[in-house]
Amino acid sequence: MFVLGCGRSPKKALVICVAGSTSVQPYAEKLAEEYMRRHKEVRIDIQGGGSSAGVYAAKQGAADLGASSRELVETERDLLEIPIAYDGIAIIVNWRNSLENLSLPQIRLIYQGKITDWAELGLPPHPIHLITREEGSGTRNAFEELVMGKEAEITAAALVQDSNGAVREIVANDPYALGYISMGLVEPRVRAVAVDGVLPTRENVKNRNYKLVRRFLLVARELKPGPCQDFVNFILSPQGQGLLEAEGLVGVVD
């Protein structure tokens, strides 16, 4: 009865477990649905939990593939790293908020807690309701690396939510909120502001005009030939990459 990994039972060895980044999750689900349509004997389970959780699960063997939306750190470098797409981090405000542009230093000051009122940004006065992700979030780590830098820390007064979707929901319902989510999750109820004059669009991510870009990675201890390897190959194939591009990401394979 001895098993390693989620879903791998002695009888059905065709289960793949992907865990981690909530940014990658919806795309992984789409890829999984498409792959399972073509390979009916395979079952792919997608778990959330955040990038760090995914990397950890892959390291421990609890997941076959970890999904991360940030780069690996020193202690994780012994894992196999498979980039699958480029994604932008969008800074979002409520659709009723007329803010259109923020400079990178401004974003940093806001998240440090040094700019606390919308009046300081030229809007009607009201405290900014600042939202960030939990510490294990790849989006947060990528954000910290790209925006905050080594010295600045995100203020402890910021609201914390544990997934992209949750952040988006709050910003969508609160006219005074500000947060950051994966670019692909932006929808009409929230507006992505331009960063230093550049809007987060697929083209701007592709040509690197938009600065807040990070890679989506799949990580694993090893990639033995089998369903896992096939799935990864599918993701990196023109069909897989085409699917990701259709969803708003930028592919890694040119």
Partner: protein, 278 residues
């Protein structure tokens, strides 16, 4: 000027009724909101289709299966263990400091925040033992959560059986075990069943433990080692991420109906058992 107590009483009663009305209003509001927004979603196709597009479309079939699977496993593990322990503790040991400590321990564990059990289950079952996110990990963790409840309710039910019954059995020459199976257990059955039903109800609503042990896979679990999301977990994810409000409400409505059904079944079962054995 001292107010006539009868007049004072009118004010007090009015105040209490007001508070009660307010409270009941809130509680009824909850049931009504879920019903109005959720019941329209409860169609056969909603119940029988699998979720698609992260739950945005499709139904909740896989979550129903996962819920049943995990709950069944947890109850199958916790009930024999719990009822057996209760029998041993009440029938085979004398009331002393040991039993009191055990009882206190069970009480404490019944009160432990479920997230701690989630942490425990995640570290032990999912990671250390390598079961991964699975029905097994979820069922085991849930069983641990239900065990104290079942022990406690079973114990109370068994203790409530009048000692005279046992004395009569012994004087008639029945052995201890015969006494237990023929008289004590049947008498205690309504209480024991209530305890188990209570546990089933708790399992349905449990999210903190299962999210971290059984995971959140969208597909229908088949083997014990498959991951699956229960209805409560599915609801949590749908609601929190704003994936689909109608589906979220629909799931909540089904959960509410399930709990209602369980309460009704438990109640009628209890009535029938009581009639049969008392």
């Amino acid at each position: 000027m001292r107010l006539d107590p009868r007049i004072f009483q009118v004010f007090v009663k009015a105040g209490l009724w007001l508070l009660t009305g307010f409270t009941l209003l809130i509680l009824v509001f909850i049931i009504v909101t879920i019903s109005i927004k959720g019941l329209p979603q409860v169609t056969p196709s909603f119940l029988l289709q699998e979720p698609h597009d992260m739950g945005r479309t499709g139904g909740i079939f896989s979550t129903i299966v996962a819920t049943a699977y995990i709950t069944l496993l947890a109850i199958l593990l916790a009930s024999p263990l719990g009822v057996g322990s209760a029998i041993y503790l009440t029938e085979y040991t004398r009331e002393g400091w040991i039993t009191r400590i055990i009882r206190f321990g069970a009480e404490c564990l019944a009160g432990v925040p479920s997230i701690i059990l989630g942490l425990f289950g995640f570290v032990l079952f999912v990671m250390k033992l390598g079961f991964g996110w699975s029905i097994l990990s979820g069922g085991l963790s849930l069983a641990i959560m239900l065990l104290p409840i079942i022990i406690r309710t079973s114990e109370e039910a068994i203790k409530a059986v009048p000692p005279e019954y046992r004395l009569v059995c012994f004087s008639l020459g029945l052995s201890k075990w015969q006494t237990i199976t023929r008289i004590v257990l049947p008498c205690a059955l309504p209480g024991i069943t209530t305890g188990i039903m209570l546990s089933v109800g708790r399992s349905l609503g449990e999210t903190a433990v299962l999210l971290f042990t059984a995971g959140a896979a969208l597909r229908t679990p088949v083997s014990l080692f498959d991951s699956g999301r229960t209805m409560a977990v599915h609801f949590y994810i749908l609601a929190r991420e704003g994936i689909s409000m109608p589906n979220a409400y629909g799931t909540a409505a089904i959960l509410m109906i399930s709990i209602l059904l369980i309460n009704v079944v438990a109640y009628s079962l209890m009535q029938r058992l009581m009639k049969r054995y008392t």
